[in-house]
């Protein structure tokens, strides 16, 4: 059973002065599952992600990835051990082309970063990978335009493409649908679902859209004021009294 766990946190805590943003969080994420983190604004979801990806150092506690302690690993090592992370606020290279954005992501995990005497275009393996990813996330029509000129929805796809390029085992997606037009959301969710199931990947997801969370997740962790309030299958969570009052406000009825 234990070998089934890809990511584990042990009493993970992050305090900013008196404010404890993440308070003693211990969770286990099963391999190949889609694990959602939900909770009201300020519950500590993004801070929790920042601790996992190494963007922040925890005050105390541990992060274990495939049984290895990665708690204080510098942020640039994260992808090399197989964790890719996307951001709630679109975080791309605005003046570089869509292609170059993804190509840089593909190059990062290779061994050619300091071959300064050869043009980057000679390294065909990264370009081939870039085309694969561009095809997958559906940006083929806009490959060579500066990333800043993409509409918001496409920038979210680009963001997803950038973490797919190095082929990580675990994807941390921080509100991948944030700011997207409602009609684009199902398309992106289907894509995430497809990546997770066909690529044998584990996905952790912070999401506000309850319909999305309830329909795609295998496991849901509810956070509230930095703590884990509840954890379980979508059905468990929808039926949980405490969650209903704290977060869902009694408004959400599971329609499945």
């Amino acid at each position: 059973m234990e070998t089934d766990i890809i990511l584990e946190t042990r009493n993970l805590t992050k305090a900013f002065g008196a404010l404890v943003a993440v308070d003693n969080v211990s969770i286990k994420v099963r391999k190949h599952s889609l694990h959602a983190i939900i909770g009201p604004n300020g519950a500590g979801k993004t801070t929790f992600f920042n601790l996992l990806s190494g963007n922040l150092e925890p005050t105390s506690g541990q992060v274990l990835f495939k049984g290895r302690d990665i708690t204080r690993q510098p942020v640039h090592r994260t992808i090399h051990c197989g964790i890719g992370r996307s951001f709630q606020i679109t975080n791309i290279f605005p003046n570089l082309t869509v292609f170059e954005n993804i190509r840089l992501a593909a190059q990062a995990t290779g061994r050619d970063n300091f071959r300064f005497w050869r043009p980057a275009s000679h390294f065909k393996q990264y370009e081939a990978r870039t085309w694969e990813v561009i095809e997958k996330v559906g940006l083929k029509e806009r490959t060579f335009v500066p990333a800043r000129t993409l509409p918001h929805g496409d920038q979210r796809k680009l963001e997803l493409g950038m973490i797919l390029a190095p082929d990580p085992e675990l994807l941390l997606l921080d509100e991948p649908t944030a700011g997207m037009a409602a009609e684009q959301v199902p398309e992106l969710i289907a894509l995430i679902r497809e990546i997770q199931s066909s690529g044998n990947k584990t996905v952790m997801l912070v999401e506000h859209n309850m319909n999305v969370v309830m329909s795609v997740s295998d496991t849901i962790t509810v956070m509230h004021q930095g703590r884990v309030l509840a954890e379980g299958t979508p059905a468990d969570i929808a039926a949980n009294e405490e969650v209903q009052t704290a977060y869902l406000g009694g408004l959400y009825k599971l329609n499945a």
Partner: protein, 361 residues
């Protein structure tokens, strides 16, 4: 994948014509001054010597500006201590030749060691400070160097505030007797570094440098240890600037302490602002314009030259925020929209876009 000969020539038409023009320049000017190319070649007459000198100065400035474009224009590191890279090369060459009687190759070896060492010195603060703070810390470091250069205690070597004088330059590249050779040496070094830079900025390493300029945090998240890339750019830049400094000493052959001050860093900044930040070609074009404008205005306007000079630079930066080469590369007339985009881009490079956001809050 090697391009066929005609397309290669076509692709690099402007560069090849410019190179040819620079190779022929001393001879053509010689003809106008009444000396045959053979006479120019043998260096017997003084024909075209003045133009050669001016061109050498431009080559040195261009090399220096190129090195600044690499760290500022491509990697986004705003350094206010860049003149130190140049001055270390200049002083080291002067002192090695004059006080220690080393030959050119020994001097060159020493230069490489010093260049890498000073890049590492800047590298110490790299992971800790960013943006305008990095600029101020590097300014501090170069100021310390400036003070050391100016100090009386080292006056025997550096010449203190008078400057380093009486450097004995090896005969075979003496600016007095073998100026044409020095001209071609300087031109060759410039061309080689230009080609190296072109290659570097398009290599996997250079691409990451651009990514760091655009969004360093994201580059880290992609898995790049950005410190190493910034350090690599600094080392290459430092070596280039030190060689430019060495050429400066050989050509002059006196070294003024002014070249280690902030003013000379601003010179590099101005040159690439005129030419176009992050274009490489801009450093070459900018250096030529900078030196020729300064020379021309001084000659015809005397004292008021620097005022007019300044006004012209302000106008260029204001109306051509991408610089001359950058605007040329847009391949269209500059719209107001593009100008605004250009100003924003400049603000970002100087780390001033965030200041604006803060003042809004």
């Amino acid at each position: 994948m090697t391009p066929s000969a005609p397309s290669f020539v076509q692709q690099h038409r402007i560069a090849l014509i410019s190179l040819l023009a620079l190779i022929l320049l001393p001879f053509i000017v010689g003809v106008f001054e009444g000396a045959s190319p053979l006479e120019v070649w043998s260096n017997r007459s003084g024909a075209s010597k003045f133009i050669q000198g001016l061109a050498i100065e431009i080559f040195i400035l261009a090399l220096y500006a190129l090195s600044y474009d690499l760290i500022f224009g491509f990697t986004g590191l705003l350094s206010f201590g860049h003149s130190m890279f140049f001055a270390v090369g200049a002083y080291l060459t002067g002192i090695a030749l004059k006080s220690f009687g080393l030959n050119l190759w020994q001097t060159f070896g020493l230069l490489m060691v010093a260049a890498v060492a000073q890049a590492l010195l800047f590298g110490i603060v790299l992971p800790r400070v960013k943006g305008i703070t990095f600029a101020l810390v590097t300014l501090g470091m170069s100021s310390v160097f400036h003070i050391v250069i100016m100090s009386r205690e080292l006056g025997d070597y550096t010449g203190a505030d008078v400057g380093l004088q009486g450097v004995i330059v090896p005969d075979f590249i003496s600016p007095a007797t073998e100026r044409l050779r020095l001209y071609f040496v300087a031109l060759t070094i410039l061309v080689l570094f230009y080609l190296l830079y072109r290659r570097f900025v398009d290599s996997p390493t250079g691409r990451v440098c651009k990514a760091i300029r655009e969004n360093e945090g994201r580059a880290q998240m992609l898995g790049y240890n950005t410190f190493l890339f910034k350090l690599a750019a600094l080392i290459l830049s430092s070596i280039t600037a030190a060689i430019a400094g060495a050429l400066h000493t050989i050509y002059q052959p006196i070294v003024s302490p002014d070249i280690s001050g902030l003013g000379f860093t601003v010179t590099a900044l101005l040159i690439i602002l005129i030419g176009g930040v992050g274009t490489l070609n801009g450093a070459l074009v900018g250096a030529a314009i900078f030196r020729l404008l300064d020379f021309g205005l001084r000659r015809y306007l005397g004292e008021s030259a620097s005022f007019i000079n300044g006004a012209i630079y302000v106008l260029i930066v204001l109306f051509l925020p991408y610089g001359i080469v950058g605007t040329w590369q847009l391949k269209a007339s500059l719209t107001f929209q593009q100008m605004r985009q250009g100003w924003r881009h400049l603000l970002e490079l100087f780390g001033l876009d965030r200041v604006r956001h803060v003042s809004k809050e």
